[in-house]
Amino acid sequence: MQSNGAEALRAYIRAETSKCMFCGFCEALCPTLYHGPHRGYGPRGRVNLARLIARGEASFTSDVVESMYSCLLCKACHLKCPGGIDIVGVVRATRSLYVLSQEVSA
């Protein structure tokens, strides 16, 4: 998903993450969850942190940044998500929001 500004990114993230049913099927396949210190190192955690960010209910704390930037974008989670969420797209869009918030990419 190409970023066309923060609001478009938020709208995309809200739409995708609204499909999450919290089933956790994605977690068994994630390479990073097993090695991470919290659930944000897995796809379910990432999807729900992204949802909170997009809704303006969370900010980019170090835990949120770690959650998003520890993702390998390997798409293993896509194989088992019954909601068909574009989880990697959500992670990328959330990273783009972070970049915009940090004014890294002028």
């Binding site: 990073t32 520890s70 390997c74 002028a106």
Partner: protein
């Protein structure tokens, strides 16, 4: 577990804007492998390496540096200081890659050229049109930097007369085939992966035979559907292919894509995958420079080589 992300992103953005590569190194490292090969420079089909094989020795040197930083509580601060001081520590570390790794990347690129030539593919290599694709910028969410970079890459390919490009790794194939058309207005270059091209040509390579364990890269397997092509080529070259517990679409990541952000995490994942591969055999085939680098770092007891070397009888 994750380094100072903002500082790493700033480094990547600044360096890419400056010299087209997300690291403080001379862009010539991307094209020097072809010097003396006498490849034609003009043609409407260009070999576009995307620079990933060539950059891996430098990324490995960076990861070694970052692993040291990560082990210190002040890692983020040190990285910030390094950037402010003109990246002296960082540039110094990256400027000294392992020469064997540099030579290995050149050997892979030359093997790919030989395979294409043997298969009867007509192509040119224009050094001024080759360069880094920007895939890491896209992955990191640096959308504006990536867009500007992609436009520059596209313009130099067009200027060189490219109507079709041959890509050689999963990340570059993915970004050129799936992402550039979305980010670059009017993108009209056909993208073809070399493994697909070798199969289309009905090329039968000749290798040294024996049993090999195949490691599918995530992007080939899940995004681009390149699963059968490498297997058929390896089988034609006389190898018996051993499948790890997780293979094909169910493959397991090498841990690579985050090595410059979370090196320790990356190494843990690579070790897990290397163990899994070793259950089937010692000789491992990789199809991606990132997988090659990460699995090599973690699987010291394995004999890991790029598919191009197996197919050309050099492994």
């Amino acid at each position: 577990m994750v380094l100072n992300v903002r500082e790493i992103l700033l480094l990547m953005a600044e360096e890419t804007e400056k010299n087209g590569i997300p690291l403080p190194i001379n862009p010539r490292v991307i094209t020097e492998w072809a010097e003396g090969l006498g490849l034609p420079e003009k043609g409407d089909t260009l070999l576009y390496t995307g620079g990933l094989y060539q950059l891996m020795p430098y990324i490995n040197a960076l990861v070694k540096y970052l692993e040291v930083l990560e082990s210190r509580p002040s890692g983020g601060f040190l990285l910030k200081a390094a950037r402010k001081l003109g990246l002296t520590g960082l540039a110094g570390a990256i400027a000294k890659p392992d020469r064997r790794e540099v030579e290995y990347s050149h050997k892979v690129l030359r093997a790919i050229v030989k395979l294409l030539q043997s298969a009867g593919v007509e192509f040119a290599y224009n050094p001024s049109a080759d360069g880094y694709s920007g895939v890491l910028l896209y992955d990191m969410g640096l959308d504006n930097v990536f867009r500007r970079h992609a436009v520059r890459v596209y313009e130099s390919l067009k200027k060189a007369g490219a109507r079709r490009i041959i890509t050689i790794d999963p990340h570059t194939t993915f970004i050129m085939e799936k992402v550039y058309p979305e980010y670059v207005k009017g993108f009209d270059i056909e993208v073809v992966n070399y493994l697909r091209l070798l199969r289309e040509k009905g090329y039968k390579p000749s290798g040294n035979g024996g049993r090999v364990v195949i490691h599918d890269p995530c992007l080939y397997a899940r995004e681009l559907g390149i699963i059968e092509e490498p297997r058929k080529l390896l089988a034609d070259a006389g190898y018996e292919i051993l499948e790890p517990r997780r293979s094909g679409r169910m493959t397991y990541c090498c841990g690579g894509p985050v090595e410059s952000i979370a090196p320790r995490l990356s190494r843990k994942i690579a070790s897990m995958r290397a163990r899994e591969l070793s259950e089937k055999g010692r000789r491992v085939v990789t199809l991606c420079p990132i997988c090659l680098a990460n699995l090599s770092r973690a699987g010291e007891k394995l004999e890991i080589n790029d598919i191009s070397l197996y197919l050309s009888g050099e492994a």
